[in-house]
């Protein structure tokens, strides 16, 4: 603090009082600075959740967001009472936007990242998270390479594409055994994006090793933004394959089945080894009876788990008009990813990136939503304990039909023809 001397206005001087005040202020600053750092590290956890709330994957992104919406109330119920702020942002189903959103969230003080239901976006966010030293817990993304890069800050509580395919294909033989009907040929239709290509590659690699009773006669890739799949379906129909295997997302799954009805193509079944789309609420609502009997082998919520009941109760409170089964996959994994963050923060007692990442690495959460063992991560940051079930849409509700001990109904295969449905 400097003021002009009363005797000589031109001369500026420092008085004893101003010096003392300045020294006091400096001391106060110096004294509190370390506490500031400690407060920042032990303070509220801010989690940035990056989801495709608009664009091609908007329906699924909005569904995932419900998992983030129910998390704060659930955290209090299950003992994560420390202050946690969850910020949900939209990456517009665009990988470059996902990268930019991740950078922005970190700049805005997010201590952890989660999301994004997309392998391409997850790869982009992972690079940013690793560079900035901010732990990134993936809710849903299957491309195996994400956890094969040697990253220290990237964790995935979801199956990799090879796991989805191998665990999913293993259930195919159970379907045929349970119904006594075995197809001899299949045609594969897959979306041509990072996820679709990863799944296709996994199928190509794993299928020959599974000793399945049918062969894949043709693979047909299609554009992720396709508005019309008439050519693709005509091509698939012309193969005369017994079953259609699909790797879809949501909008394309709707267009695909709609086109099958129009072209009167009635294979023995439509079976997806682990891809989203056909168990989503929007698919069920849009397709109605034509969405029934489609089968997906997929990681799913455990209907008997205590945590699933809590999720269900909270979901009903927040979304009384929505049906949980069409959202549970997205909600379950999104909530679990955020639970991993909350759990790590509680054990680390810090918001420091390295401390949080170390805590995530030693995660062991027994009580979970999805079917499988405890949530824990291997050295690569991959959770390998997630199991798959066989889901079939029945009465416009995704229903577990295999394995028998978790089944709510018995599987129907071959599916009834289009004009024999109610």
């Amino acid at each position: 603090m400097i003021r002009k001397s009363p005797t000589n206005p031109a001369r500026a001087g420092v008085t004893r009082r101003s010096f003392a005040a300045g020294a006091g202020a400096a001391g106060l600053l110096a004294g509190t600075a370390p506490f500031n750092i400690v407060r920042a590290q032990g303070g509220p956890l801010k989690i940035g959740v990056i989801l495709p709330l608009s664009g091609v994957q908007a329906g699924i992104g909005q569904s995932c967001k419900r998992g983030a919406d129910i998390a704060p109330a659930l955290f209090k119920q299950i003992g994560y009472t420390q202050p946690i702020e969850i910020v949900v942002v939209d990456f517009e189903t665009n990988v470059d936007t996902a990268r930019a959103r991740a950078e922005r969230l970190i700049a805005d003080g997010c201590n952890m990242l989660s999301g994004p239901f997309d392998s391409g976006a997850a790869s982009a966010i992972a690079q940013v998270a690793e560079q900035k030293g901010v732990p990134f817990v993936i809710n849903i993304a299957a491309a195996p390479q994400i956890t094969e890069q040697g990253y220290k800050f990237v964790f995935r509580n979801f199956q990799t594409a090879p796991q989805i395919i191998s665990r999913g294909l293993a259930l195919f033989t159970d379907i045929f055994a349970a119904t006594g009907k075995t197809p001899s040929t299949a045609v594969l239709m897959h979306i041509n994006d990072t996820f679709g290509q990863a799944n296709k590659a996994a199928i190509d690699r794993i299928f020959p090793t599974m000793n399945l009773p049918f062969k894949i006669v043709e693979s047909i890739a299609y554009d992720p933004a396709a508005k019309d799949l008439s050519v693709e379906v005509a091509k698939a129909k012309a193969t005369n394959a017994d079953i259609l295997m699909t790797v879809t997302r949501l909008n394309d799954a709707i267009i695909l089945v709609r086109e099958m009805v129009k072209q009167r193509w009635e294979p023995m079944g439509i079976i997806s080894p682990g891809s989203p789309g056909m168990y989503e609420q929007q698919f069920l609502d849009t397709m109605g009876k034509y969405g029934d009997y489609v089968i997906t082998t997929v990681p799913w919520a455990n209907p008997k788990a205590e945590m699933t009941k809590l999720v269900s109760d909270e979901f009903k409170k927040l979304y009384p008009r929505d049906k949980l089964p069409g959202h549970i996959f997205n909600i379950g994994f999104t909530f679990e990813a955020l639970m991993v963050c909350a759990d790590a923060h509680k054990r680390a007692g810090s918001t420091n990136g390295t401390a949080l990442a170390d805590a995530v690495r030693t995660t062991k959460i027994e009580k979970r939503v999805m079917v499988g063992g405890p949530i824990e991560f291997d050295a690569k940051g991959q959770c390998n304990t997630i199991a798959s079930v066989c889901l079939q849409n029945r009465n416009q509700t995704p229903t577990v039909v295999l394995p028998k001990d978790a089944a709510e109904m018995t599987p129907v295969f071959p599916m009834p023809s289009w004009n024999q449905r109610g």
Partner: protein, 291 residues
């Protein structure tokens, strides 16, 4: 090698879809042919029409094909107001100003639709949405067939209007000789607005039909604008028959490319066709060579 039956089925689907695309592009061609403004908000205006159809169907169960004329009328009014109120002052300004204006309008439309309707895809499920006709070995998609027939009827009506009505002739006079039209006392500003309205009405009719074939989403606009450009450049910018022909050619090219090569490369072939046309017939297939 695909069977003949498969080739015919795929080709028919491509032609039917191409006719609807052609009607959409027709609006762009009409506007450019007369007003000489390239409507970069074309696809976005089409999404407005699609959402109108979706809303009318959801609220009152009104079939988009029945609502085709009212929706076209609403879009006509929107186009007229846009031209008279916003675009006319830009007619004599540099082309980049017109470009920026229409891109801005496009962005505004997309975001307003996002705010009102959200990002989810909206569809219209009529009683015939999943119907198809069996014609010998051919399976004809009912919605595409209805939409294609309606597209041909709308194009014919437009042709009759421009060829045989006084207003149509006056609009053609403006397109042929701007100064001459002014000299003989035509109200050029009004005729420009009328033309923009007619182009928008085509878009409205096409939107009402297209919603039967594809789902409406706000971000659909730019893709439709691009498609319209590819079609009119291929067919001939400013040419009405060219727009319909371009639509059919693009629809057919994409369908056959998807069948004989790989479906995910359909766009590559339609853009390849565009490049070939630009290289060897820059005025478009039925367009007139610039003097």
């Amino acid at each position: 090698m695909p069977s003949l039956e498969l080739v015919l089925n795929v080709a028919l689907g491509g032609i039917l879809a191409g006719l609807v695309y052609g009607l959409m592009a027709l609006g762009l061609s009409v506007i450019f042919g007369v007003v000489r403004v390239v409507n970069f908000a074309h696809g976005e205006m089409m999404t407005i029409a699609m959402y109108l159809a979706v809303t009318l169907f959801a609220a009152f169960g009104l079939d988009p094909l029945i609502m085709l004329v009212p929706i076209a009328a609403v879009l006509f009014a929107l186009g007229y107001v846009m031209q008279a109120g916003v675009i006319n002052p830009f007619i004599s300004r540099p082309e980049h100003s017109q470009f920026m204006l229409l891109v801005a309008i496009a962005i505004i439309i997309t975001n307003v639709l996002l705010i009102i309707f959200g990002p989810d895809a909206k569809s219209v499920q009529t009683s015939y949405s999943l119907d198809s006709f069996l014609v010998g070995p051919l399976i004809v998609d009912a919605t595409k067939a209805y939409a294609a027939v309606a597209a041909i009827l709308v194009a014919l009506a437009l042709f009759v209007f421009f060829r045989f009505t006084l207003v149509g002739k006056a609009i053609r006079a403006c397109a042929d000789n701007y100064v001459g039209a002014l000299v003989v006392g035509l109200d050029v500003k009004h005729l420009y607005a009328l033309t923009f309205g007619l182009g928008a009405a085509c878009v409205g009719a096409a939107g009402a039909m297209l919603v039967l074939v594809i789902d409406a989403t706000p971000p659909l606009g730019p893709a439709l604008t691009l498609l319209a450009f590819v079609i009119v450049i291929t067919g001939g910018l400013g040419s009405m028959p060219g727009a319909l022909l371009g639509g059919v050619m693009i629809g057919l090219t994409e369908a056959l490319a998807g069948l004989f090569f790989t479906p995910s490369a359909k766009s590559m072939f339609s853009f390849g066709l565009l490049v070939l046309v630009l290289l060897f017939r820059p005025q478009g297939i039925v367009g007139k060579k610039a003097l």
